[in-house]
């Protein structure tokens, strides 16, 4: 949508309605069905669909007759998420923790089952921010979400549940890079619901035996939880 000018606000509106319609009607929906649903002229609908496919917000199904949302639409959500900032009280807790922990310390919140990174460690950046948002379950942070989601099953979920029971944290040891790993300690609100997490990323041996790092993170999480949720 590079050629869009301010004279075409209607086009933006229509394009978003088309995405909305594909989300509502489900993968594999035909162009005619979308046109009928939105009450748009057919030629206009087809043009919008082709533009959205060009930009990969939509993809055509292999028979070319249907449409599904492209993985790229998650970028729309990432843009739309409101910026969140830590209060100065919370920030001082995080800064104190970063001073004593050798590795990255990150604060995230969970919104609608999605990971929202609120305060990544400036000295030890996240290894792959986009991938964390796309495939959260590959990281300790996302595994907290899996454990909390009662419907999820599988060996990965059982392992994460066992970690949480044993350590009070989820882990990822050497699965993304052989020498690295990460930990996530839950931040819970007053009612005990999962609201966010304090994450650690660093050398793998600190995750294989997390007791030393967790001795720093657990009290920090306890102090942080009432300040961020």
């Amino acid at each position: 949508m590079r050629d869009l000018s301010a004279r075409q606000p209607g086009a933006v509106h229509s394009a978003l309605s088309v995405l909305e319609a594909v989300a509502h009607l489900g993968a594999g929906v035909s162009a005619q069905r979308i046109s009928a649903e939105l009450d748009l002229p057919r030629a206009t609908t087809y043009r919008l669909l082709n533009l959205l496919v060009e930009d990969e917000y939509l993809v055509r199904t292999p028979d070319l007759a249907g449409f599904a949302l492209g993985a790229k639409v998650t970028q729309l959500a990432a843009v739309a998420a409101p910026p969140v900032r830590l209060s100065s009280a919370a920030r001082s807790v995080v800064d104190d923790t970063r001073r004593v922990v050798r590795g990255g310390v990150h604060v995230v919140l969970f919104v609608d089952q999605r990971v929202v990174v609120v305060d990544p460690d400036p000295d030890f950046p996240l290894s792959d921010h986009a991938r964390l948002l796309r495939e959260p379950a590959r990281y300790a942070l996302g595994r907290l979400l899996l454990v909390e989601d009662g419907a999820a099953t599988g060996a990965e979920v059982d392992a994460a549940r066992a970690d949480l029971a044993r350590w009070g944290a989820t882990r990822q040891c050497g699965e993304i890079t052989a020498t690295g790993g990460c930990l996530a300690v839950p931040l819970r609100d007053g009612a005990g619901a999962l609201a966010g997490a304090l994450g650690f990323s660093g050398a793998r041996h600190r995750v294989d035996d997390p007791s030393e790092v967790l001795a720093q993170l657990r009290p920090a999480a306890d102090a942080l939880a009432p300040l961020v949720v």
């Binding site: 978003l16 995405l19 909305e20 989300a23 509502h24 489900g26 993968a27 594999g28 035909s30 162009a31 005619q32 057919r42 030629a43 087809y46 082709n50 496919v53 060009e54 930009d55 990969e56 993809v59 055509r60 199904t61 292999p62 028979d63 070319l64 007759a65 599904a68 949302l69 492209g70 993985a71 790229k72 639409v73 998650t74 729309l76 959500a77 739309a80 609608d112 089952q113 999605r114």
Partner: protein, 500 residues
């Protein structure tokens, strides 16, 4: 919470997408719009055509040369738009072959493939011959004692080796080589034409559009001229074979194709205006000139510039060889991945991601046929005429089939609207008429091309009849399908069991 944000937060699993494209192995999303357009422009070779086609058009449509060229440009734009119907919806390596297969099924797809392979292969032979002819001509100027037939054969082999090298070395290398060489040739020709135009002085617009002639426009002569001019545009669709290798192919491939027609059309109109105005000002007959640009250059005291034009033309032929062979090997690659040709032809170079096996199979034929023709004593100009005419017939047949396929394809996917269907049907009709006129014209001149095309068509029909039994309906026309990772909630499903 809207349906979209809910889908993003908790995507439903979507099955039916593979974990890799059926056209895996090619280097993906490498070249931008400029390199992509260079591919199409190179295959058209407008610098070489600009200097020769005006003369041919003037022969059948005297006085209405410019309108005939404009008519051919309009028809080419309509074909480009129809090709865009497919190119905007999916990315392919087989170009028109894949498009026709998706619209009309196996038999018509194979027929289009045969016509397209004939077109690309014959024009590649023509380009190698033309490059060798002009290079020998230039060399003879430097070294008068040159053995011309031997030099032509040797230059042809050097060209073929060069084409093979850049094609295997990577799409970026071959696209960039075509871009540089073709830009050089276009700039040289444009500079020469503008210098000539400035020397000629004020242009009589009435004489250019043919209105000053008594009796107005002659539609038959206009059509005959347009058919000849159309052969100067063929090749503009070849960017469609780079769908896998192009960045944002659904946006860039249609733009590259349309842009090529506009650029070539502008160059031909400039060439026609210069030559028609030049000969009108000299009060000479354009159709009677053997080499109008050289004659004009000589008449206006720019004799030395003729060498510039010859360098430009030789460069244009080389770029044309690179461009058409690039397209040819990708069609062969796509046919191999469809199971039509042996699987070995679908192998790609492990490091450079190019269809190296198809290059290895195609180049000996492309270099061998012209060498055999020269070896048995066919004059270079005659060999060039036959290969170009056979190639043009192949292109036009594939255009007709793809124009017929477009409305059927749109109906099949439920996206048929009036304008694209009307444009496609009118283009198919005009092209069919052009093809008939082309054959009638050739039959009157001896019928050599009709004979070659007839033999090729018969062979293709027999081969397709045999292949048709091996391929179930809808089994060909594989394209660069989106993979599961590109789909929100996409779950890879195994789909191509024969896809090693």
């Amino acid at each position: 919470m809207t349906a979209l944000s809910r889908a993003i937060a908790r995507p439903d699993p979507v099955a039916g997408f593979g974990d890799r494209s059926p056209l895996h192995g090619l280097e993906r999303r490498r070249i931008g719009i400029v390199d992509l357009a260079a591919q199409s422009v190179a295959a058209v070779a407008p610098a070489a055509a600009a200097t020769t086609v005006v003369l041919l058009v003037a022969g059948v449509a005297p006085g209405i040369t410019v309108p005939a060229i404009v008519a051919a440009a309009v028809l080419s734009l309509c074909i480009a738009r129809t090709v865009g119907v497919f190119a905007r919806r999916f990315a392919a390596a087989g170009g028109l072959y894949t498009y026709a297969a998706r619209g009309l099924g196996t038999r018509a797809g194979l027929a289009t493939g045969a016509a397209l392979v004939t077109g690309y292969a014959a024009v590649a032979m023509f380009a190698l011959l033309g490059g060798a002819y002009y290079a020998t001509y230039l060399l003879a100027g430097l070294w008068p004692g040159l053995d011309r037939p031997l030099a032509t054969g040797a230059t042809l082999l050097v060209e073929a080796a060069l084409v093979a090298f850049v094609l295997v070395r990577g799409i970026r290398v071959s696209a960039r080589a075509a871009l540089v060489v073709e830009s050089l040739s276009v700039v040289l020709i444009v500079v020469l034409l503008i210098v000539l135009l400035v020397n000629i002085g004020p242009v009589d617009v009435g004489a250019l559009v043919g209105v000053s002639r008594s009796g107005g426009l002659d539609p038959v002569a206009l059509a005959a001229g347009a058919v000849i001019a159309l052969t100067a545009f063929v090749g503009f669709e070849s960017a469609a074979t780079l769908g896998v290798e192009s960045i944002s192919p659904l946006r860039n491939v249609p733009r590259a194709i349309t842009g090529t027609v506009v650029l070539s059309g502008a160059l031909y109109v400039l060439a026609a205006v210069t030559q028609v105005a030049g000969f009108t000002a000299l009060d000479a007959d354009l159709a009677a000139s053997a080499s109008p640009v050289n004659d004009l250059a000589a008449a206006y005291g720019l004799g030395g510039w003729a060498v510039v034009a010859d360098v430009g033309i030789a460069a244009s032929f080389l770029a044309c060889g690179i461009g058409t062979t690039t397209a040819l090997v990708r069609v062969l690659f796509a046919m191999s991945r469809d199971g039509v040709l042996p699987p070995a032809l679908g192998r790609t170079h492990r490091r450079f991601g190019t269809p190296a096996a198809a290059v290895g199979a195609a180049l000996p034929v492309i270099a061998g046929v012209p060498l055999v023709l020269l070896g048995v004593g066919v004059p270079v100009r005659d060999a060039m005429h036959v290969t170009l005419s056979v190639g043009a017939a192949g292109y036009i047949v594939s255009y007709i089939l793809v124009c017929v396929a477009a409305p059927v394809f749109l109906r099949r996917i439920g996206e048929l609207t009036v304008v694209p269907a009307v444009v496609a049907v009118l283009s198919a009709g005009a092209l069919a008429a052009s093809l008939v006129a082309f054959f009638v014209d050739d039959a009157a001149a001896g019928g050599g091309v009709v004979l070659v095309v007839g033999v090729l068509a018969l062979t293709a029909a027999v081969v397709i009849g045999l292949l048709r039994r091996r391929h179930a309906p809808g089994s060909i026309g594989r394209y660069d399908e989106p993979v599961a990772a590109q789909v929100l909630g996409g779950v890879p499903s195994p789909r191509h069991p024969d896809d090693a």
